[in-house]
C-alpha cells in the first residue's frame, strides 16, 4: 500500500501543472467553467488554442500505443487531468480525446484508426456525441433515429438531443438504429460523421441560465460513408459500452473543486460579515470542513481508480461510485457556497459577482455532472446489479 508517486511521475506532474498554470493566465474573463467553451466564441477559441498547446507537447495522445504516436503512461493522463482541473483550463476535447480515441483504439479497424486518430492527437478535429433522443435517455437502446445502409453509405434520419457542443464541433460520433426490425441491442450502428454533411440541422436548447450548452440535432437524409463505422454492422451496442468506460475522468473535476474550495476559503478569510471575517463563523468553518473531508474522500477514490487503470483494469464499479459521489458533492458544494455568499450568491458573472460568478454558475451547471454520462440513478443500478449482485430490473 503506497500512495507515493515516483520521482519521474513527480517531475511530469510539475510539468503538467506549470503548462496549465501558464494557460490559466491567458483565460478570457468570460471563462467561468469548462462548459463556457460551448457558450461563446471567445471561450471556444481559447479551448482550441489550449488544445494546440497540449498537442504540441504530445499530451493529447498520452497512454496511446506508440505506433499511433502515443507517449507516456496512464498515470501521466491522470496527472495531466489534475493539472487542467486545478488550473481550470480547457483544451482537452472530452469527446474526441477522452471518449472516442480510446474507443477507436479498442474497437475500430486499422483504417478507421489511421484516418481519425492523428487529427485527434493534433487538435485539428473537435468532436461531439450524438447519443440521447427525446424518447431514449437512460434507456439508450430504445433509440429510433435510423441509419440505413444503402450501398456504400448509411443514410440517417431522425433526431438526437442533449448534445453538448454540436454547434461548435467539427465531427460527431453517434449511435443509430441500423436494423429497424432487429432485436434490441443487436440493431445499432456506431458511426463517425462530419457535422458539415448536408441534411444536418443543429438547434440550440437554451440552458436554464440562458447559456447554450445543449443542442437538438436533426437528420434529414444525411449520407455517411459506410467505411465510417466503428465495430460490426448492427454491433454498435458493444462499442457504446466500450465508450462508456472511458467517459470523463472525475479527477479533473475533483481538482477543479479543490481549487474552488481554496478560493472560497480565501474569500471567507478576506470578507467581513457582522464585524468579523466569515472565516471566524463556526458554521462556515464546519460546513467548509465537511466539504473538504468529502472532497478528499473523492480524491483518494479517484487515485484508487487511477491505480487500477494503470494496471490495465477498468475499475467500473468504483468509477460508478465516484461518478455519483463527486457529482452530488458538486451539488452540495454549489448549495453551500451560494449560501455562504449570502445575497451575492445569486449574482451572475458581472462587476458585482464575487469569485467571477463561479458559484451562481455552478448552481445551474452542477446537473451537467449528475445527469449526463449515465444518470446517477443508472449508476446506482449498475452498482446494485453488477457490484452487489442484486436482481436486475426487467
Amino acid at each position: 500500500m503506497d500512495f507515493a508517486l515516483t520521482d519521474e511521475q513527480i517531475a511530469h506532474r510539475k510539468e503538467f501543472f506549470k503548462a496549465c498554470s501558464e494557460l490559466e493566465s491567458q483565460k478570457p474573463a468570460s471563462f467561468v467553467g469548462f462548459e463556457s467553451i460551448f457558450e461563446n466564441d471567445e471561450c471556444w477559441q481559447f479551448h482550441r488554442s489550449c488544445a494546440k498547446e497540449y498537442a504540441r507537447r504530445g499530451w493529447l495522445s498520452l497512454a496511446w500505443p506508440a505506433e499511433y504516436g502515443g507517449t507516456g503512461a496512464m498515470m501521466d493522463r491522470v496527472m495531466f487531468g489534475e493539472a487542467r482541473g486545478y488550473h481550470g483550463v480547457p483544451g482537452l476535447d472530452p469527446f474526441g480525446v477522452q471518449m472516442l480515441a480510446p474507443t477507436l483504439l479498442a474497437a475500430a479497424n486499422e483504417d478507421v484508426k489511421k484516418r481519425f486518430l492523428p487529427s485527434i492527437a493534433n487538435a485539428e478535429i473537435f468532436w461531439c456525441e450524438l447519443w440521447s433522443e427525446p424518447n431514449a435517455g437512460s434507456d439508450l437502446a430504445a433509440l429510433t433515429c435510423t441509419a440505413i445502409k444503402k450501398g456504400n453509405e448509411y443514410v440517417i434520419n431522425g433526431q438526437k438531443t442533449w448534445n453538448s457542443g454540436a454547434h461548435k464541433a467539427d465531427w460527431a460520433f453517434g449511435v443509430f438504429k441500423s436494423d429497424p426490425n432487429g432485436r434490441k441491442h443487436h440493431n445499432l450502428a456506431f458511426l463517425l460523421l462530419d457535422m458539415k454533411t448536408p441534411g444536418i440541422t443543429v438547434r440550440p436548447i437554451p440552458y436554464m441560465n440562458g447559456a447554450t450548452i445543449y443542442n437538438e440535432v436533426y437528420f434529414d437524409d444525411v449520407h455517411v460513408p459506410a467505411e465510417n463505422i466503428v465495430g460490426q454492422e448492427n454491433g454498435g451496442w458493444a462499442v457504446v459500452n466500450t465508450l462508456a468506460g472511458f467517459e470523463r475522468s472525475a479527477l479533473d473535476e475533483i481538482m477543479a473543486m479543490l481549487r474552488g474550495l481554496e478560493t472560497l476559503v480565501e474569500f471567507c478569510n478576506q470578507t467581513k460579515r457582522n464585524g468579523q471575517p466569515l472565516s471566524r463563523d463556526p458554521l462556515v468553518r464546519n460546513r467548509l470542513a465537511q466539504l473538504a473531508c468529502e472532497l478528499e474522500a473523492a480524491r483518494t477514490l479517484a487515485y484508487r481508480i487511477a491505480d487500477l487503470q494503470n494496471r490495465g483494469e477498468m475499475a467500473l464499479m468504483d468509477a460508478s461510485a465516484l461518478k455519483v459521489f463527486a457529482s452530488e458533492f458538486g451539488e452540495r458544494f454549489a448549495f453551500t457556497a451560494t449560501d455562504i455568499l449570502g445575497p451575492y450568491g445569486q449574482v451572475k458573472h458581472s462587476k458585482w459577482a464575487p469569485l467571477n460568478g463561479l458559484w451562481e454558475n455552478m448552481y445551474h451547471e452542477c446537473f451537467v455532472f449528475t445527469i449526463s454520462m449515465g444518470t446517477n440513478e443508472i449508476q446506482r443500478n449498475i452498482i446494485a446489479w453488477y457490484g452487489m449482485g442484486l436482481p436486475r430490473m426487467k
Partner: protein, 376 residues
C-alpha cells in the same frame, strides 16, 4: 503508487478473519457485553500467542516488528467481526512508549505488552468530555521523587481491568497546551478508584478517581509540562485505528444487508429486487468505498511518519458519519428483525456511535480540518 494490500497484509488479513470467526462468535460478543470484565482472558491469551498486542513492537522488545499500516489491516478485520476487550486501547497506549519512552520504560513495558501480560489504556478525557487541552484539569504536583495526582478521568476504556493508565495531567496551572504531562500510572496504586459507566456499546468506559495517588518521576512519559504534542500523536493514531475498525464494521453492514435482501421475500420476490432498496444499498456501498481510500491514505501517511493531522481529521470526521449512516440503513433494511437485541446488526449500529465519539467526534475533527485548509 500501489494501493493494493501487500502479500504480508493479505496473509495477516486472512489469518485474522479466520481466527476471529472461530474464536469470537457473536454469542461471545453478546455474552461479554454482560460480563463484568468485558473481555475473555482465554481469548486474550490466544491473541497474545498470535502476537497481536506486540504487532507493531520491534522484535528486540519481543514484538512482531510490523508497521502501522499492517496494524490497520488487522484492525479492519477486528471491526468486521467485533472484538470486545482491551486490545485496541492497549495498542494505542503502546505508541507513546515506543515513540517517547525512555530506554528503561521501553524495557519495562514493551516485552510485557507483547507477551499479553499488561493491559494499558489512555486516560485523557475529564468531566467536560472535550479532547482539547483545556479539558485537562486533573493535577499532578511534584513532591520529592514523586508526583501526587488528584482528580477524575472520564470515559477511560477498560480501566477496570487495566494495569496501567497513560494519563494526561496538569503540572502547571492554566488551561493551555503547555503544562500538561503524560504519566504511566499503575492502575492498582493506592487512591485509585474505578466505576464502569453504562454505555451504548457496553465497552466498559470508566470513571476513574485519583486521590493523592503517588507516581514515581521515572514514570513520566516524555518531558514534564511538554506532554501535549505526544497526546496529539496518540489521538492521531487512535483516530486512524478506530477509523479502520469502523471500516470493517461498515463492510459487514453492507454485506449482511445485501445478503439479507437477497433472501427475504415479500410480494413474491426478494426485497433486494426493489429499486427503492437497491439505491440505498448502492449508497451504502459508495460510503464504504469512499471511506476506504480516505482511511488508507491517512494510515499510509501515519505509517510513513509524514505529517498527517489534516488527513487523519478528514478521515475521522467523514468515517464517523459514514459508519452511523451505513449501520442505520442496515437496521432499516432488515426491518423489524434489525431492531432485535438478538440480531447482529444492532451490535454494529451501537458500536458506530461509540467509534464516532472515541478520539474525536465529527465536529471536533471538522474544526481541525477548518484550520488545516487555511480558514483563519
Amino acid at each position: 503508487m500501489d494501493l493494493r494490500f501487500s502479500e504480508q497484509q493479505e496473509i495477516l488479513k486472512k489469518m485474522a478473519r479466520d481466527f476471529l470467526t472461530t474464536e469470537c462468535p457473536k454469542a461471545l460478543v453478546r455474552e461479554l457485553e454482560k460480563d463484568e470484565k468485558g473481555y475473555s482472558p482465554a481469548l486474550w491469551k490466544k491473541m497474545a500467542e498470535l502476537g497481536w498486542m506486540g504487532l507493531v513492537i520491534p522484535e528486540n522488545y519481543e514484538g512482531m516488528g510490523y508497521g502501522f499500516r499492517d496494524l490497520t489491516v488487522l484492525v479492519e478485520e477486528i471491526g468486521r467481526n467485533i472484538l470486545p476487550g482491551p486490545l485496541l486501547c492497549t495498542i494505542i497506549s503502546t505508541f507513546p512508549i515506543l515513540e517517547n519512552g525512555t530506554d528503561e520504560q521501553k524495557k519495562d513495558f514493551l516485552p510485557k505488552i507483547a507477551r499479553g501480560e499488561l493491559i494499558l489504556t489512555p486516560a485523557l478525557l475529564e468531566a467536560e468530555g472535550t479532547l482539547d487541552a483545556s479539558g485537562i484539569a486533573l493535577k499532578a504536583t511534584a513532591k520529592g521523587d514523586d508526583f501526587v495526582i488528584n482528580g477524575t478521568k472520564m470515559f477511560v476504556e477498560m480501566a477496570h481491568v487495566a494495569d496501567y493508565f497513560v494519563l494526561a495531567a496538569r503540572t502547571k496551572t492554566g488551561t493551555s497546551e503547555d503544562g500538561i504531562t503524560l504519566f504511566l500510572v499503575d492502575a492498582r496504586s493506592k487512591g485509585v478508584t474505578c466505576e464502569v459507566i453504562p454505555t451504548i456499546a457496553h465497552d466498559k468506559l470508566c470513571e476513574v478517581k485519583f486521590k493523592d495517588v503517588s507516581v514515581p518521576r521515572k514514570n513520566v512519559l516524555g518531558q514534564v509540562d511538554k506532554g501535549w504534542p505526544i497526546i496529539v500523536k496518540l489521538i492521531e493514531k487512535g483516530a486512524v485505528i478506530r477509523c479502520a475498525e469502523s471500516l470493517g464494521g461498515i463492510q459487514t453492514c453492507v454485506e449482511m444487508t445485501v445478503a439479507y435482501s437477497k433472501e427475504r421475500v415479500q410480494y413474491d420476490r426478494p426485497i433486494g429486487a426493489f429499486q427503492a432498496l437497491q439505491h440505498i444499498m448502492a449508497d451504502m456501498w459508495i460510503s464504504m468505498e469512499t471511506c476506504k481510500y480516505l482511511i488508507y491514505e491517512a494510515a499510509w501517511m501515519a505509517a510513513e511518519g509524514m505529517p498527517c493531522s489534516r488527513e487523519v481529521s478528514m478521515a475521522k470526521a467523514y468515517v464517523n458519519e459514514a459508519y452511523k449512516n451505513v449501520s442505520k440503513w442496515a437496521v432499516r433494511l432488515h426491518g423489524g428483525i434489525g431492531t432485535s437485541g438478538e440480531h447482529d446488526i444492532p451490535l454494529y449500529y451501537r458500536r458506530a456511535k461509540a467509534a464516532d465519539i472515541a478520539y474525536g467526534g465529527t465536529d471536533w475533527h471538522r474544526e481541525l480540518v477548518a484550520q488545516k485548509i487555511g480558514l483563519t
